[in-house]
């Protein structure tokens, strides 16, 4: 008896039947999932899981299983078609069987695809209100089942709004309804951080401030947010008043972070004070202010012990 007629192969075929007829059988999938890589049956198992991923609309998993199928094995004949169906390649394979399957799978556009097309039209026609409404609708619809893509779409929408120079307040209001104030603020700040556009520090400050006022909070989350906040501060030109506000709340609520970040904050603050002094401006918005080489003549002279103590008193009020 050849391996293709073995009992294991029958189970694999039953599993394939279950994923392609809409009555997926987890028990069968469980039985075949551990068939080893070296087995001649393994390409058939990978095909079953690639089909399962296709029906589950998970292109990443389709790619993983399709890649595992060795070229030359019978299931490899479906690799180009599955890659195309999952959106991993652009051109449909031309084989007769491929065309037959494509015809059988032909589908109409979903209402969500239509909504996205409409949103893109509103964008092209410069209708901010309609664009914001359509995108927010899509984000809301996606959020339950696909939380990550819905947030990726949010970042995309912010990018488009920024490119158009729109106000964005309507989208902002929608997003706060969908994600809540804290998460909506994080996503807006995240977009700005990713894009490298000005305003990231200000937005992340708003996020951190909201986070610090939301109880209870995991201290590791606060620390990570705080670290990103310092990163944003040195990338951008921070406002000393915003620094102060955050530090006051932080030291009151999470004094344990004080020791860990004392040195970084001292450097950050003294470097900014240096620029502040050089420019004589009330805001710290001129030039990159930190990480000047120690030997640089531009570097601020180290504050005296007394001066450092003064800075610390301001940073960490008791």
């Amino acid at each position: 008896m050849s391996f293709l007629d073995s009992e294991q192969m029958i189970i694999i075929l039953d599993a394939l039947e279950s994923v392609t007829n809409g009555m997926e059988n987890p028990g069968l999938l469980e039985q075949i999932k551990d068939i080893p890589r070296g087995s001649k049956l393994r390409p058939y198992v990978d095909l079953v899981f690639a089909l399962q991923a296709y029906y589950g609309q998970n292109p990443t998993r389709v790619r993983a299983y399709v890649t595992s199928i060795p070229d030359g094995s019978p299931p490899a004949r479906l690799k180009p078609l599955l890659s195309f169906l999952a959106g991993l390649t652009k051109d449909a394979p031309e084989g007769m069987v491929d065309r037959e399957i494509l015809k059988a799978l032909q589908q109409r556009k979903s209402y969500l695809e239509t909504t996205l097309e409409e949103a893109e039209q509103f964008l092209a026609q410069n209708h901010e209100e309609s664009f914001s409404d359509s995108i927010a609708y899509l984000i809301r619809e996606l959020y339950g089942k696909f939380p990550e893509p819905s947030k990726q779409l949010t970042l995309w929408a912010w990018e488009k709004i920024q490119e158009k120079g729109w106000d964005g307040s309507l989208l902002d209001a929608h997003l706060k309804m969908i994600f809540g104030d804290l998460e909506a603020t994080r996503l807006k700040a995240l977009y700005l951080l990713h894009s490298g556009r000005p305003g990231a520090f200000q937005e992340w400050t708003s996020f951190l401030m909201k986070l610090l006022h939301t109880e209870p909070r995991n201290v590791k989350t606060v620390e990570a947010s705080f670290m990103i906040w310092i990163y944003a501060a040195i990338q951008e030109h921070s406002d000393s008043r915003r620094l102060q506000e955050i530090l006051e709340v932080l030291v009151r609520k999470h004094p344990q972070l004080k020791a860990k970040y004392e040195k970084v904050l001292e450097d950050l603050t003294s470097a900014e004070r240096c620029v502040f002094a050089r420019n004589g401006s009330s805001s710290l918005t001129v030039g990159r202010t930190v990480h000047l080489p120690v030997s640089s003549p531009e570097r601020c002279v180290s504050p005296s012990r007394k001066k450092r103590d003064f800075v610390q008193l301001e940073l960490f009020p008791s």
């Binding site: 609309q57 399957i101 556009k109 995309w156 990713h194």
Partner: protein, 74 residues
């Protein structure tokens, strides 16, 4: 995007200035800086497509040169 990922940028910056980053804090940094923006909207259109119709096993099996059950398979 070929550019270094934002999460890695922040973490390598922290390392560069000698901030000790514990595993759990690193995980939180990664979580807070996620997700990454879409490279292209085509990633989304795949998700928006309606679930494909179930066409049964026969068509797939024929494609790999395997007769469906009942056609030569016990």
């Amino acid at each position: 995007m070929v550019e270094q990922d934002l999460k890695d940028k922040v973490l390598s910056w922290a390392k560069q200035i000698s901030i000790p980053v514990e595993g759990e804090v690193e995980a939180q940094v990664r979580k807070l800086l996620s997700p990454h923006p879409f490279g292209s909207l085509s990633e989304l259109t795949q998700i928006l497509k309606p679930k494909p119709p179930y066409v049964g096993p026969g068509i797939w099996l024929r494609a790999i040169g395997r007769p469906p059950k009942g056609e030569g398979h016990a």
